[in-house]
């Protein structure tokens, strides 16, 4: 039986996503870099880049779990965590040198001990990033810096090379440029003639490409932005965890809508707009950059801040409705639904909540709901 491959991930490959195994081989053999499989969502990628480590993100992969190891997690755990366990413990990511587990939620935190302690990634390094929770406060800022320094020491042990502060400054600058172009593309969505599926395919290539390569691609795409709006459909704001299946964009487009505002945890919530301070201590700058990211339920940001951020996205994109596309059993995101719902209702804005399980394609029922929603929003703005 052939091993599941990182690149063979259903819809994602349809969206021109790279063959991950090929990327890994090129980076390891051609560039001598170490590779970490990284579980969702937020992590200090700048540190990995600075230390010549390629991050390959593991979002599932979507579709049916890739091995019988999935039975080690109960069916009421989200598909992102279950598929990841099946994939990693089933040997699907054997090419990587280790795994990085950010403490995103109770489920990934659980995997961060279950896989290394009880088997599934033998011989692979297990690195953890224990992200602090709640509002930025003095204690959190101090801890975050220390935790980043601790993680840097773990990476040093993996690579055998010390962290060079200059290289970290360079990496902070690089990732800031990447985020600036991502922001330009997301903000200028109405001026981009391509489809959402194409745009998200390009943005998601960053999940496994070496960052400099990703930046070149992004810059080429940004050159295609028109001076004025070219999108004619119904503008929507989409929030949630991860755009899987990516078919959702095709279905929205078929119904006459496009994504004018993005708040996916995997996409927009990772775009930091503030420029880093490259003069002082680069670890301080990295910590500050992480805290400057948009509000996210998985970081337990203040609900009020999240709602204000959604308002900002919505107004900037002229969004006439909101789709909350989340994952079943995702506690961080699902706790926010009620607050988002009443907030949008108080502003007379329609909301559609779609819960998925990382299926390889949308169910007929979800497609019908999306179509009906877009029709309703379009009718309300006099744009049938």
């Amino acid at each position: 039986m052939s091993r599941p491959r990182l690149g063979a991930t259903g819809n994602m490959s349809k969206q021109n996503l790279p063959d991950r195994n090929q990327v890994i081989r090129e980076q390891k053999e051609g560039r001598g870099r170490k590779v970490l499989g990284v579980l969702p969502i937020h992590y200090p990628k700048e540190l990995l880049t600075a230390m010549d480590v390629l991050a390959v993100e593991i979002w599932g992969p979507p579709g049916a779990p890739r091995s019988a190891q999935v039975g080690r997690l109960q069916s009421y755990v989200c598909a992102v965590a279950r598929n990841a366990l099946a994939f990693v413990a089933g040997g699907g990511a054997d090419l990587v040198d280790g795994f990085l587990y950010p403490h995103t939620c109770d489920s990934i935190q659980g995997l961060a001990t279950q896989i290394p302690d009880f088997g599934g990634a033998a011989g692979k390094a297990a690195l953890r990033y224990r992200s602090p929770k709640g509002k930025a406060r003095p204690s959190l800022r101090r801890y975050l810096r220390e935790e980043l320094a601790r993680l840097a020491r773990e990476i040093e042990a993996l690579t055998g090379r010390a962290l060079d502060p200059e290289r970290l400054r360079w990496s902070l600058g690089l990732h800031h440029r990447i985020d600036s172009v991502r922001a330009e593309l997301l903000d200028g969505r109405a001026r981009f003639g391509g489809s959402d599926a194409e745009l998200y395919g390009i943005l998601r290539r960053g999940e496994c490409l070496w960052p400099e390569d990703h930046l070149s691609e992004l810059e080429r795409v940004a050159e295609r932005l028109e001076p004025g709006p070219v999108q004619k459909g119904t503008p929507l704001l989409v929030s949630g965890i991860v755009p899987e299946p990516m078919e959702i964009f095709d279905r929205l487009a078929d119904a006459g809508a496009y994504v004018a505002g993005d708040d996916y945890a995997a996409i927009g919530r990772r775009v930091v707009r503030e420029a880093p301070d490259l003069e002082g201590d680069p670890l301080d700058a990295l910590a500050a950059r992480m805290l400057a990211a948009p509000p996210c339920s998985t970081r337990s940001s203040d609900l009020g801040e999240r709602l204000a951020h959604l308002d900002w996205l919505r107004e900037r994109g002229g969004c006439a409705g909101v789709v909350l596309h989340t994952v079943k059993f995702c506690e961080p995101e699902l706790f926010d639904v009620s607050g988002i719902r009443s907030h949008l209702a108080s502003r007379g804005l329609p909301l559609l909540v779609v819960e998925g399980e990382l299926e390889s394609e949308l169910s007929g029922q979800v497609v019908t709901r999306l179509e009906a929603f877009v029709e309703m929003v379009a009718a309300a703005r006099g744009n049938p």
Binding site: Q114, S297, S300, G304, F335
Partner: protein, 441 residues
Amino acid sequence: MITRRAQYEAVRRVVGPFLAELQAWQRRYKRLRRRGGKPKESPFGPPLESVGPLKDLMTRHYLEGRYADGAVPVAWVTSGFPVELLRALGYHTLYPENHAALCGVQRLTPEYSDRAERDGYSRCLCSYARTDIGGVLLDKTPAGRLPRPDLLACCTNICQTVLYWYRCLADHFKVPLVLIDTPFVYGEAQEHDLTYVRDQLAEALTTAERVAGRSLDWDQLARVVRLAQEGSVLWGECLAESRQRPAPWTGFDGFFHIAPIVALRGTEGCNAYYRHLLDELRDRVKKGIGGVRSERFRLMWDNLPIWFNVRELSTQLAEQGFNIVVTTYTNAWAEAGRRIDPDDIFGSAASAYTNIILNEDLDRRLALMKRLAAEYQVDGALLHSDRSCKPYSIGQVDLKDRLGAELGIKALLLEADHNDPRAYSSEQGATRLQAFMEGFQ
């Protein structure tokens, strides 16, 4: 404010004690009337006398709560929060988890959860949170009335879920939320983890003082910490009596008798109660009285109880001579006490509240379960796979296999939910349990 305070003090000092005395008198009267009558056939040993005082203690606590807001500062607190700080500042504390369990026992969760679900809270979320939020939205409680919080106090040492839940409460009540975020422990907690927790304790204190409108009396805090430490040790001693054969009570009893160490930790009332319970348990051991009438097999329980199904489950087990003699859940409140040091309050609190079973890696959890299995001489283990509680349930499939392979004991994974009966099939559960028990015969 003055009238409210007078009402609160009257309830605390006069009405509460009077009701407790009245209930004690009623219990004595009932016992006298029962004497001479034929005892009912039961697979359990004689009921614990301490159940009465336990009910009195908790009834008084909830009764005082009805009059607390407006009289004293009120905090809603997670079970793992370092409550000593709030206690020393004169807060009345309410534990939504404990209250939700009370609702769970009375099978109120479906009604309360429905209300929360109508507001957009998914049924996939923790049923404690749904019960609590639904109760708040319905303005209903089996305790008569819950005091409105002035402060919310949350600690992530049991799960991150509590923080999502308390963010919603903070938004609803428009009151400050203080957070103690405890980094997850692999092996041993690191220095910067403990510094972070200590720093947060200081930050939480500043907010709690501001809300209470008074400064902390450090001597009072030392007294409360000593009481909390003593309470935790006493609770541990009560649990340890089950190392005897037969165990003088059942793990299911323990699920109910845990309420004071959760909700009243750091008070003399809590400790007095556990001294009373300990005396009774020791007396039962001396007399050879068991929690179940004929104890043949001893089991360990992992995870929260199935609150709405405790009676059915415990009866099914007891009828065939099975007793739950130790649970990882009730044991957690005994472990913390060992680390508390009244001479280094913040430092030891940081360590005690960070090193909690649900905040530690699975290797440590397995080691703990193996130690408990040996100390309590268990023959098997029941692992409640709790749909609502991801942090407790992730890893259980492997834990079950390892307990079997490394200790040679039989273990069963029982799929249920701690509070929501809609997520549990009692027939299926009973059938699986029956098959499990047959494996011992």
